[in-house]
């Protein structure tokens, strides 16, 4: 299954819950304010590096660009809306709202 997170990990616990429940190799897609999680150089970078070792992690390009985020944590795949659609084709999605 595909886990989708749309909230900032700095202000909200949705990503925490997602990571607690997700099993190894479940893909995680970050959209909207969720993309802050993969910015390079934040206090969460260590945790996100571990996460990338355990899960394929994707972040939506339109949301990264809108927020001026250029550098993302190594191993994170940046995808467009078409990539988002393909992820949902391949996996049943759950939005952690």
């Amino acid at each position: 299954m595909l886990h989708i997170v749309n909230k900032s990990p700095f202000s909200n616990g949705n990503l925490d819950t997602c990571l607690r429940i997700a099993q190894a190799d479940d893909p995680i897609l970050l959209i909207e304010d969720g993309v802050f999680a993969v910015k390079k150089g934040t206090s969460l970078e260590g945790r996100m590096k571990e996460t990338v070792g355990r899960h394929p992690v994707y972040a939506l390009q339109a949301d990264l660009k809108a927020r001026g985020i250029e550098g993302v944590v190594d191993g994170v795949t940046v995808c467009d809306y078409a990539g988002f659609v393909r992820l949902v084709e391949e996996h049943r999605p759950h939005s952690w709202l």
Partner: protein
């Protein structure tokens, strides 16, 4: 024409009651879905475990008290009712505090059940 197998649909409840309408409007969906002969489950984690807490009294708030409705989940065909253990423990709650009989499961068991669903609906 071939009869379609029932679909597995899980309501993944994570919001607290009363502070927002999701718990209430989510419950309205569950009750309607009960009429469609699908395989319905409901999971409660994070603040949604408070939706099941005994002793809610909304008279002073002047809003509807709907926790009793959770008691009819089983009658409405919601066969699996999961509560995540860690969510319950963090909030100082035990199964005795809850208004319905539920299965207390760890995160891995919940994830496994989620993985078996055709549709996951967050409320």
């Amino acid at each position: 024409m071939e009869e379609q197998a029932p679909r597995k649909i899980m309501f993944v409840n994570r919001r607290a009651p009363h502070g927002s309408i999701y718990a209430y409007e989510g419950l309205e969906v569950v009750l309607i879905f009960g009429a469609y002969d699908q395989e319905i489950s409901a999971a409660f984690l994070d603040d949604a475990v408070f939706s099941l807490k005994k002793g809610q009294d909304t008279s002073e708030l002047g809003v509807k008290e709907f926790s009793a409705t959770f008691r009819v989940l089983e009658a409405y065909g919601v066969e699996n009712r999961y509560v995540e253990k860690e969510s319950l423990e963090k909030r100082g709650l035990t199964p005795d505090d809850l208004i319905v009989d539920v299965e207390v499961v760890d995160g891995a068991t919940l994830r496994k059940a989620m993985g078996e669903q055709d549709v996951l609906l967050p409320f």
